[in-house]
């Protein structure tokens, strides 16, 4: 049970990043490779605020969110919008570029050494269903569950969320309907950035603030999304937890060198058996 709890806690981080991917994916049909870097940035912001400046966690949440928002707007303007609607995978290169830039900036500002961040609930531990886990882990898991249901509800019930769905389905049709797809894309990038930027304060205690965090998370969160189904927030939740638990169990019983291999196996297995993912939708029309 201990292994499962720790798998769920790590999985929760994948869920959070996958939600970020999904917001971009649903609202502007873009895959933002730099998405996990916002979480990485958030961990460093919270390190500075909580550890260096000794301020409360709430401040870290807010400042991280604001920074994530600003960087998100900047990324959309420079790396995503110039290529939107061109139909090629140009954003593959430019969002990777942004990812590298963000990593480089953090390296310049904070250095390459990992920093420890105290968690919410001052690292106290609870026993639940026969396994021990920290309060911070519990918060992470709860956040992953809450946010995935929240974003799902928001995208299916709010006007803006539905506009986003429309824009990614058919950009031009949405434009004709009076949806400002450019602003929507900027908004999505900024919101996803703000969300992950502020979550850095919760994730940091688990992962430490380390500049390579994004590169590790990007692929795992992607696998979570592929397993759950692109564009599905419930899928992101299930997918993230599956990846986290598989990784933890295989790492525990077969050895850590097999953990990635097992995750890769899950990915290939799901893609071959159900290419649209567990909760993804299949588009029938081809011509």
């Amino acid at each position: 049970m201990l292994t499962i709890w720790s798998g769920l806690a790590v999985g929760a981080i994948y869920v959070l990043v996958a939600i970020g991917f999904n917001i971009m994916f649903v609202a502007s049909d873009t895959f933002n490779f730099a998405q996990p870097q916002y979480l990485m940035l958030g961990t460093f912001v919270s390190y500075t605020i909580v550890v260096s400046l000794g301020m409360p966690l709430v401040v870290a949440l807010v400042v991280g969110g604001v920074m994530g928002f600003a960087v998100g707007v900047l990324e959309d303007w420079t790396a995503i919008r110039p290529l939107s609607g061109t139909g090629v995978h140009g954003e593959l290169v430019t969002t990777v570029g942004w990812s590298v830039i963000m990593q480089g900036c953090v390296l310049l500002l904070w250095g390459s050494a990992p920093h420890r961040i105290p968690g919410a609930g001052s690292d106290s531990v609870v026993t639940l269903l026969g396994g021990r886990l920290s309060v911070n882990d519990l918060v992470l898991i709860a956040l992953a569950v809450g946010l995935s249901f929240g974003t799902h509800y928001w995208f299916t019930h709010s006007k803006l969320g539905i506009a986003g769905l429309a824009a990614s389905e058919d950009r031009q049709a949405a434009m004709i309907r009076g949806i400002n797809v450019n602003r929507l894309s900027t908004g999505a990038c900024a919101v996803a950035g703000a969300l992950l930027g502020s979550l850095g304060a919760v994730v940091g205690p688990k992962t430490f603030a380390v500049f390579t965090l994004g590169s590790i998370l990007v692929l795992k969160a992607f696998v979570a999304l592929a397993v759950g189904g692109f564009g599905s927030f419930k899928g992101a939740l299930i997918g993230g937890f599956v990846v986290g638990v598989v990784e933890a169990l295989v790492g525990r019983y077969l050895g850590t060198e097999f953990a990635n291999l097992a995750v890769f196996g899950v990915l290939i297995g799901v893609l071959l058996l159900r290419p649209q993912g567990l909760f993804g939708q299949r588009r029938e029309r081809v011509v």
């Binding site: 590298v100 592929a226 011509v287």
Partner: protein, 628 residues
């Protein structure tokens, strides 16, 4: 053969000049470098550039040309390196170790690409990216052979055919490998195999409708792209006699993507430019420290936004712009080219019996039966959403019907996929023309012959007589098909720059070149001007007279009446009327459902029907307009 003579400005001439002699000269010069007084540190940099260029070149083939985001290059590179190193340590000659490295890389390339068969774009990108993450794990799992995370050292000097290669010998080997591979790659991409890759990149639907097995074509692209990576890996292992898993990481993968983008992904020689830029620029800095990371990222963003075709792309775009002026002038005098005689087309009977197709809860096609005999034009009309395109997609194999039968020439076509249908003789055009980018008109038309007239990869690479024969036949067939439509003079123009009407004609020519048993035309007149519609009507009549089986889906009722022998009217997936144009025009159900007021001005059948409707009420070519 029709003379191309449209663009004869100097820039056009430069653009058309073969580039391989220049590249070959550069290659020979590089081979001669050890005797030109360059120091060994310079030669080492050249070797590093060449190795990186090989890896990038593989990515260019699978990504730039075939459009597949298969980004596992580093994993293939690593496997090539480890296989080469281990074999050399077991005292195995390079003559064997080098091909073995390439073969191992091909295996990894195909495995990493496998998800791409069911999954395009980012899905493939990430799953192949993920493979890179597995390199250190794999090294650890096979620690006795690979030395684990500490790496593998003490790889002995390379031996080729029993003789030990000195520094100069190794240099020659590396440059030689690059020159040979670039020659191979050049021969692939400039051939019909290259055309196949471009069709694949444009659209899997198009590829399937041309009879290309999409899965096997994709796997071929991944396998080809893996070869240079494997060779490069082997060479890299032998360069310093040491390899470690941390070298083969995400940073290297990003550098390779950057090199591909900067040099131009869709180019043969761009990989050398990209590799040189990276090797002499950011990669000099150890592990991308400090500002290098930021600069490198900015480099990617700026490069990705502004130079989508890379530096080689910029040069050829410049030349094309300069030669465009003449070309436009030439296309402007679109002389009323006299269409050449049409060869007989052996059409076959198309039968659809009791066809039903459900999408979820809604029934798109409901108990539909029709026959389209050879030598006739069978028309299909109906409002948007009445099931016309669904029917075409069932006939061409993109949808599986819920029940019912499609038969050609009396033989049933149950369960076969689109590429098998295409091989059986189903050819089609698309509502939005699917024309691969960066292909000439003649190449687009010839792409219909890829399957029926096969030419092996070896014959292509070595330019054997079989290849030359097929190439000549391709050219002749496409010029003939274009000639039939009166556009043979456009054979050497870039196809994607043509006007919509002309692109539709190119699609018809492509369908013709497939020697079709059944020809499906999906709204060929939409977006055409009056003259073009009239031209199209002439083409369709001549197709019919040549014996083709034509199934025409069209909203332009006047065109439909002018060319069809029998018309079928669909409403909500059901057939509500069929008969000659005359009968259908006066059918009360059709007037009610489809024609609306248009029936009041219902034109006479025959050639002038077209004139009336076209000059009278163009807006009515869309059925909704007729109803209000």
């Amino acid at each position: 053969m029709i003379a191309s003579g449209t663009s004869r400005s100097w820039a056009g001439v430069v653009r058309r000049l073969p580039r391989w002699p220049v590249a070959l000269a550069a290659g020979v010069l590089a081979l001669a470098a050890p005797w030109l007084g360059f120091g060994s540190d310079v030669l080492r940099q050249v070797v590093l550039v060449a190795i990186l260029a090989l890896v990038i070149s593989g990515l260019n083939l699978s990504w730039g040309y075939a459009g597949e985001l298969a980004l596992g290059q580093v994993a293939m590179y690593a496997v090539g390196a480890y296989v080469g190193a281990v074999l050399t340590m077991h005292d195995i000659d390079l003559a064997l170790a080098l091909p073995a490295s390439a073969a191992a890389a091909v295996v990894v390339g195909v495995i990493s690409g496998a998800p791409g068969i069911r999954l395009g774009g980012w899905g493939l990108a990430m799953s192949s990216f993920f493979l890179v993450l597995l390199v250190p794990d794999a090294a650890e799992i096979f620690e006795p052979e690979t030395g684990g995370l500490n790496g593998l050292s003490g790889i002995p000097q390379a031996k080729l055919f029993g003789t030990e290669l000195g520094e100069t010998g190794f240099y020659l080997l590396v440059i030689g490998c690059l020159v040979v591979w670039l020659a191979v790659m050049r021969n692939i991409v400039t051939s019909r195999q290259g055309g196949l890759l471009r069709v694949l990149r444009q659209s899997g639907v198009l590829a399937a409708s041309l009879g290309i097995g999409v899965s096997s074509a994709k796997l071929k692209a991944y396998a080809l792209g893996a070869i240079p990576a494997g060779v490069a890996g082997c060479l890299f292992a032998l360069l310093d006699g040491f390899i470690a898993p941390d070298y083969f990481g995400l940073t290297l993968m990003i550098a390779i993507i950057a090199g591909s983008v900067l040099g131009g992904s869709e180019s043969v020689y761009g990989c050398v430019v990209g590799a040189a830029l990276l090797q002499l620029g950011p990669m000099q800095v150890t592990a991308f420290e400090k500002y290098a990371l930021v600069a490198f990222g900015a480099f990617l963003v700026v490069g990705g936004v502004f130079f989508s075709g890379g530096i080689t792309g910029l040069i050829s775009r410049g030349l094309r712009l300069l030669s465009r002026r003449r070309a436009v002038a030439a296309a402007g005098d679109r002389r009323p080219a006299v269409p050449s005689e049409m060869d007989p087309i052996p059409g076959e009977l198309l039968e659809v019996r009791a066809l039903v197709k459900d999408f979820g809860g809604s029934r798109a096609v409901d108990d539909l039966s029709l026959i389209a005999p050879a030598g006739q034009v069978t028309g299909l009309i109906g409002a948007n959403g009445s099931g016309k395109t669904t029917l075409l997609n069932i006939i061409s194999g993109f949808y599986t019907p819920t029940s019912g039968i499609v038969a050609i020439g009396g033989s049933e076509l149950a369960g076969s996929g689109p590429h098998q249908r295409a091989r059986r003789g189903v050819a089609r055009t698309f509502q939005t023309p699917l024309i691969p980018a960066s292909s000439t008109v003649a190449e687009v038309v010839a792409s219909a012959r890829l399957r029926r007239h096969h030419c092996g990869l070896i014959a292509t690479i070595l330019r054997l007589p079989a290849y030359r024969r097929i190439r000549r036949a391709d050219r002749a067939a496409s010029v003939r098909a274009l000639g039939v439509l009166g556009i043979a003079h456009l054979a050497d123009e870039p196809a994607s720059s043509l006007a919509l009407g002309t692109r539709r004609l190119v699609e018809v020519a492509r369908a013709l070149a497939a020697e079709p048993a059944v020809l499906l035309l999906d709204e060929p007149a939409s977006g055409l001007d009056e003259q073009e519609v009239a031209d199209l009507a002439g083409v369709i009549r001549r197709l019919r007279d040549a014996g083709a089986t034509v199934l025409l889906v069209e909203h332009n009722f006047a065109l439909m009446c002018a060319v069809s022998d029998r018309i079928h009217v669909l409403e909500s997936g059901r057939l509500i009327a069929k008969g000659t144009p005359e009968e259908v025009q006066h059918d009360p159900a059709v007037i009610e459902s489809y024609l609306g007021q248009l029936a009041d001005v219902a034109p006479e059948t025959g050639p002038d029907a077209l004139e009336v409707a076209v000059s009278g009420n163009r807006a009515d070519s869309s059925p909704g307009a007729g109803n209000d």
